[in-house]
Amino acid sequence: MIDVTDLRVTFGQGADAVAAVQGVSFAVRAGESFGLVGESGSGKSTVLRAVVGLNHDWTGSIAVDGAAQGRRREKGFFKSCQMVFQDPYGSLHPRHTIDRILAEPIAIHGLRDADARIDRVLRDVGLGPQFRFRYPHQLSGGQRQRVAIARALVLEPRVLLLDEPTSALDVSVQAEILNLLKRLRAEHALTYVLVSHNLAVVATMCDRLAVMNRGRIVEEMDVEALRRGAAREDYTRQLLRASQGYDRAAADSFKDFA
């Protein structure tokens, strides 16, 4: 479904250039849920933004649904591939009602029966019709993230890219959103690419994952290996240990992996 080969992304030019992604390759099969894990600044979100076309300055090759993608995306591409952002407080237009937010993609693509689509997608994400004409500031963080997921689903895409979809939410709401995402994936046969720094989230959501550090993929493993703690690389082992909570002895033993 998604094939990324030797992806490189550099920000800035000359002496200030930062190589955020340095030769990343991975493949995601149709219907699979793939996790990209790593600490802050490892380049995982940058990979996602390049795949979806928000970032134009990349080299390498990206293919989605068998079609090689250029730097600018066709309008049709967005019908098959959508993204959910990390911060539900920043990803909804503050002056638009939920109705307007969900109607926009339908209008852009000239689809019909907007009312039925909006009703269906709101019900799909567990929000009733009473939310339809509210403004984002009248909603909680979890409800906003549901709206953001609904917006991504309105066009009935096959691939959903999730950029830390729960890290801005508190723990009880996190679980609700993760369950919702699991259910939606089963119901709509979606392919997920999930970016997260939270190994527990990836362990519940994904079939396979890749660990990134400093713009490179360090290790690919399936989620069974993650649960057993069977990591080949030192960096992954350190990440696993760090994810088990704060421990002074562990923190002191941490190394910098260049």
């Binding site: 979806v52 076309g53 928000l54 995306r73 309008k75 049709g76 591409f77 967005f78 019908k79 959508q82 993204m83 952002f85 990390q86 911060d87 920043g90 990803s91 909804l92 237009h93 503050p94 002056r95 009602t97 109705d99 307007r100 926009e104 993609p105 852009i108 693509h109 009473q130 939310f131 004409f133 509210r134 403004y135 500031h137 009248q138 953001a148 917006r151 066009l155």
Partner: protein, 303 residues
């Protein structure tokens, strides 16, 4: 759906769960109105502006005399029961001239308000959203306009176009858009990188759609505030051009021109220049108070 009692209407407007697009929009307007009406000075400003509109609309009914009729036997009379605000050098009733003059003032304000901010908004949002070459080119043009003092540039335009109220309006509009472009560009740059703009780009929206549907609505509230606050300056510039003989031409009852003709009598017949001066002062104050109140309601940073 719409209840008849006042309590029902308020409940309908403030409903947590609006049932339709219209209800959601009206509810938002109502909440804004509640915030605005709590500000007493802003309400005074709104009252003055509404009064100006009423004066302009009802001038023929309110004015006791024809503003153009000269009567040299009645010239330079002080305020009295017959002529509440006195008469000018041609024996024309000053109150009637001020009432009719409000039409000119309102026309200037309205025409400048629908041209300059719209042009500034479009130029600023396009420059800010596209960035790069478009930004550099559009903002350098803006800088050139900003480099001249406003009144001097307006004077230059009017002397090139010829004196008259229409040309004065054009000159004021041409000289007042650059600050709006600056504001709109600055706001656009902060909005451009936000996730909700990325999200709409990911839906395949075209650039004009993003600028008009998503960026402009967020810039326009701070622009409306700025325009209202600038109204006083626009009225003063128009009056200044009238005073210099480059705006409205005699015998049009434009307030600035009225002050200019009253200048020679200012020591003995003070009312000839003072009455239109007070009118300009009150209207400018009204727009300033209104702008302050609008800022409290519309400025997104206040929320």
């Amino acid at each position: 759906m719409m209840q008849t009692t006042e309590g029902g209407l308020r409940a309908w407007l403030t409903a947590e769960t609006p049932q339709s697009r219209g209800q959601a929009r009206l509810g938002r307007v109502y909440l804004g109105w509640l915030a605005f009406s709590r500000n007493r000075l802003a309400m005074i400003g709104l009252g003055i502006v509404l009064l100006l509109v009423l004066m302009a609309a009802l001038a023929p009914l309110l004015a006791p005399y024809d503003p153009y009729r000269q009567d040299l036997s009645q010239r330079l009379l002080p305020p009295s029961a017959a002529h509440w605000l006195g008469t000018d050098a041609f024996g024309r009733d000053i109150l009637s001239r001020i009432l009719y003059g409000s039409r000119l003032t309102l026309m200037i304000v309205a025409l400048v308000a629908v041209t300059a901010p719209v042009a500034g908004l479009l130029i600023g949002t396009v420059a800010g959203y596209l960035g790069g070459w478009a930004d550099a080119a559009l903002m350098r043009v803006t800088d050139i306009f900003l480099a001249f003092p406003k009144l001097i540039l307006a004077l230059a335009f009017v002397s090139a176009l010829g004196p008259g109220i229409e040309n004065a309006i054009i000159a004021i509009a041409i000289t007042s858009w650059p600050p709006y472009a600056r504001i709109a560009r600055a706001e656009t740059i902060t909005i451009r990188k936000s996730d909700f703009i990325s999200a709409v780009r990911l839906q395949g929206a075209s650039t004009p759609r993003i600028i008009l549907g998503h960026v402009v609505p967020l810039c326009s509230s701070s622009l409306i505030v700025r325009v209202t606050l600038d109204m006083a300056g626009i009225i003063l510039t128009a009056a200044g051009l009238g005073f210099l003989g480059l705006g409205a031409q005699p015998p049009a009852p434009e307030w600035g021109a009225m002050i200019a003709t009253g200048r020679q009598y200012v020591l003995e017949q003070w009312w000839v220049a003072t009455m239109p001066g007070i009118a300009i002062f009150v209207v400018s104050l009204g727009f300033n108070l209104l702008g302050d109140g609008l800022r409290d309601v519309l400025d997104p940073k206040g929320k």
